[in-house]
Symmetry: C2
DNA sequence: ATCTAAATGATAGTGATTATCAATATCAAA
DNA sequence: TTTGATATTGATAATCACTATCATTTAGAT
C-alpha cells in the first residue's frame, strides 16, 4: 500500500504519532468498496481490533480528510459516507432517490471547467463535491427525458 | 411575489393547506440574502410571528424543497443551508476553508456537461449540487496557483 | 356557521458527531 | 533499553441537528 508510506510521513511531518488504530482505519477504508459510513468503518475495524473505540474512528476519519487521504460525501442520508482518495481517479456521485443506488462517474470535462473557473476567480480549490440526485435508468418513469425539477 | 402564486397552487394541487406559517417561511427565505440555516429562518420568521414553532420551520423547509421552491446546500458545516430557488439562475457554491466566505458562481458549461452526461447514462437528474471548497483570493497563500490537495 | 382533515407548536426522542478525561502507547532522548 | 513527555485512545457524557408524537388549532369545503 503506497499510501501507508505517505500516511506515515504526513503524520510525522506534523509531529503526530502513527498508531496501530490509524493504520487500521486507513486500511479498512482502502479495502472497502463503495462508500462506507462511520459505523461501517467502525464495524470493519472492530473485526480486526475489538478494542477500538468509536471516537477513534471519527477522529481518524477527520484526520484522513485533513491529510487528503479520504473524502467525505453527503449522499442524501443524514450522515457522512467516506472513501479513500485515489487522486488518479477523481469522480462524482449520483444517488437514485427511489432505490438509493449510488452511481459513480467521471467527467474530465467538468474537472477542466472547474480548473479554469478556479483560475478566473482566483480561488484555490482543494475539494470538489459534485453530487447529482434523481432517478436511475431503472427507476425513472417510462418515457421521461432529462428535465428540470417538477 | 410570483412564487407565492405557484406555491398556493402547488399546495392546493396536493390537497394541502396554505397556512400563514408556510407563506411566512417562504417569504423569509425569498427575502434572505445568502444561505440561511434553519435556525436563521426560524429567527427571522419569529420576528414576524412570535408564536411560530421550530418544527414548523423544518417541516416547511422540507415541503419547499419537495415543491422545488427551495434548495438545501451542504456548505461543510454540520447542518443544512437553505435558499429560495430561482430557476433562471442555477448556480454553485464555493466555501473558503479559512474565512468561511461563500462565493456563488454560475457555469452554463457545467450545466451543459451535466445535461449530456445525464442523457448518456439514462439518469433523470432532478438536482445538482456542486460544491467547491478551498481558499479564496484573499486567504490563499501568496503565489499559489490552482493545485491539488497538499 | 359547521365540520373534518390537515397543520401547528410544545416537547420528547433519535441519531450522528464531538468533548472530556483518566489510562495508555508512541517515539525521541538518555 | 529504559525512561519520560505528550499525543492518542477508549469509555462515556454531552451536544447538535433534526424528527416523531400528540393535543390543540386552523384552513377550507359544505
Amino acid at each position: 500500500m503506497r499510501s501507508n508510506e505517505s500516511f506515515a510521513s504526513a503524520i510525522r511531518l506534523r509531529g503526530m504519532k502513527l498508531t496501530r488504530q490509524r493504520q487500521l482505519i486507513l486500511e479498512v477504508l482502502e479495502s472497502s468498496r463503495g462508500h462506507p459510513d462511520a459505523e461501517m468503518v467502525y464495524a470493519k475495524a472492530k473485526e480486526r481490533d475489538p478494542r477500538i473505540g468509536f471516537a477513534t474512528v471519527y477522529r481518524t476519519l477527520a484526520l484522513l480528510k485533513q491529510l487528503g487521504l479520504a473524502e467525505e460525501h453527503n449522499l442524501g442520508e443524514g450522515h457522512g459516507h467516506f472513501e479513500a482518495v485515489d487522486k488518479t481517479k477523481p469522480h462524482f456521485h449520483f444517488t437514485c432517490l427511489k432505490c438509493g443506488k449510488v452511481v459513480e462517474f467521471v467527467s474530465p470535462q467538468i474537472l477542466r471547467t472547474t480548473q479554469s473557473l478556479c483560475e478566473k476567480k482566483g480561488l484555490l480549490v482543494t475539494d470538489i463535491h459534485l453530487h447529482f440526485s434523481g432517478y436511475c435508468r431503472h427507476c425513472r418513469p417510462a418515457g421521461s427525458e432529462c428535465a428540470e425539477k417538477p
